[in-house]
Symmetry: C2
């Protein structure tokens, strides 16, 4: 780490994740560096394709910073993809227009799983660590930098299906019919994620988030066995303090609103909520143990500015006075959103939340 600015100028986000007092509720947006911004589309055009952008530290840094130049965001998030680990395992990640991510190889048999290497992140994913270091330097201590990974279950769905899926038949057949294979695969992925996130933390990530995009497609018992148990293992294996500060861990399971108490039990610092969960009820249930992140419907950004503001007010009121809330969307911002509406959202969070932090 060669951070030239050891003092963090805006630490609202870190404080809120640890349920410490803040002046206003911090806010960032999942996928804030993305296609809704014309400057992102220009840089991506310059890079060539999506993975070329991820693998170029200077350009990845540039797109990470773009939304921070437009908006008063309280955190930056590493620009990368959740599928870098399976790519480093040799599965051959590529993107087809309109089709989402694909892998050249799938993982279905005992032999497939045995053959998978556990990547050594500082060597095999050095482009990610270079991006983290470059971004930290460029941020100059303005706001904290979030590192991230997909969850083992979520990565396994792509590895077994060979890409995106609507019905997850192959991975579900694996967990139901040959659970021992699924566990062997998930265990390898979990070890890889631990190494990957710790490398990001050593490179300068000040918070890490695990994206469990597909945990919500499972029955509760299977969620606990095949997704949550491996996130818990990761939480237990992470560096939790660096540069003299705690490194908070956020777990986000889309569709996980029925399992919040189980998620909070993992030892994470914060739980991400999608937009279907009532944040006031979630706080009543687990707010004494963890911070909450979320959770406006991303589609609300298609509404008019007054409606966006009223929804922000509703969510702030639902959470109520006191600490432990990081505002966010309940999922990534959509590429068709007007960038001005994102600005309305972010400003509304800061402006309307001040009154909840006067204790």
């Amino acid at each position: 780490m060669t951070d030239t600015s050891p003092v963090l100028k805006n630490d609202r986000f870190l404080r809120a994740l640890l349920r410490q007092p803040v002046d206003v509720t911090p806010v960032w947006m999942m996928r804030q560096a993305g296609r809704y911004l014309p400057e992102y589309r220009a840089t991506r055009g310059e890079a060539g394709d999506f993975m070329a952008l991820c693998k170029n530290a200077e350009l990845a840094c540039e797109v990470t910073l773009q939304p921070l130049r437009r908006y008063a965001l309280d955190a930056a998030i590493l620009f990368s993809d959740i599928l870098t680990i399976p790519d480093a395992m040799g599965l051959g990640l590529y993107f087809e227009a309109g089709e989402g991510p694909r892998f050249r190889k799938t993982v279905r048999t005992e032999a497939d799983i045995a053959a998978l290497p556990i990547p050594e992140s500082e060597r095999d994913l050095d482009y990610v660590m270079k991006a983290v270091k470059t971004i930290r330097r460029a941020l100059g201590g303005s706001v904290p930098l979030i590192g991230f990974s997909g969850s083992p279950w979520t990565l396994a769905t792509y590895m077994v299906e060979g890409g995106s899926s609507r019905d997850f038949h192959n991975i579900k057949r694996m967990i139901y019919d040959t659970p021992e294979l699924a566990h062997a695969l998930l265990d390898k992925i979990a070890l890889s994620v631990i190494d990957y996130l710790n490398a990001q933390i050593r490179a300068g990530a000040q918070v890490v988030q695990i994206f469990d995009t597909w945990g919500g497609v499972l029955p509760g018992h299977a969620y606990r066995e095949f997704s949550l148990a491996y996130m818990q293992k990761i939480v237990a294996g992470l560096i939790r303090e660096n540069e003299g500060r705690r490194v908070p861990v956020i777990l986000f399971t889309k569709g996980g609103g029925q399992w919040l108490a189980d998620i909070a039990d993992t030892g994470c610092d914060a739980v991400g909520l999608d937009w279907t969960t009532d944040i006031g009820q979630a706080r009543a249930q687990i707010g004494g143990r963890v911070a909450l992140q979320g959770n406006m419907d991303p589609s609300m950004l298609f509404a008019n500015p007054a409606r966006i503001r009223s929804e922000v007010a509703l969510i702030l009121e639902s959470f109520g006075p006191g600490e432990g809330h990081v505002f966010n969307l309940g999922h990534g911002i959509d590429q068709k959103v007007d960038p001005a509406h994102a600005g309305v959202f972010i400003d509304a969070v800061h402006e309307l939340s001040a009154k909840y932090h006067q204790g």
Copy 2:
């Protein structure tokens, strides 16, 4: 109604929906008349396309009965589509291979909504009523017949988007930006559904289910305002007794596991659960007021027979002893399922549930 067999030979399903004692837990499968059955594919080939099959009472009756010939199912369900109402409103329903349902016209503006007729079901959807009568006659009192409709919210998503959607941007923009338009549309659809389901009941449907396939994509407050309120209006408008028996109403919101108490409050007789909800917890929450229907993961049918049986046992044990459970999958059966596995599932429910009904 010209039912030639006034005595229902197997009324387990009706009894369980009213939380009355049964010998074994009744079971049926959403989409039980469907493409996983070779005899269905043959009849569909004979009919031409999907809507031609729905509109031919004899063939619709044939495919409704096909799964009952193979399996000891405790209910039949009308073979039809959830989009018959918008089709009767003049939107021009058609199906593109691999693309799902599409409409030739979309409904987006105040003028579009004002122009929509409320179909008079006995005239405009007489092919559905003919199918109901034909099936009731053919069933000869063996098991009860379920009629159904899509929920107003679910129908509105297709009408506004023009077909299936992944992100529901247009309908969400409507509810967030111009809620008065959305309410005008939903109100028209709700009135149409009331008329449609009452016509099905008069034609011989002994139970009705409302499929709210897309309620789960909403935040809780929007679910209550734009989906649940209209299902409640329908429940209030239905014929609840016919042929001297109560006509139970089942509400099924996929992804509605966080709102079970609200759903039970509508006055429905039973709540359908998708596979993500723990049925034991659901029973503890609302089982004193309503019956529960569900909820095995449909993908479990890809596992081996022993695993299917163990999952059935797990769900029965989770619900526990006593009345008020109708077994089902948590969503429709997939077309790639081996028909023999469906048989294992149905037999397992009857065989393994007897011990829970000895009170």
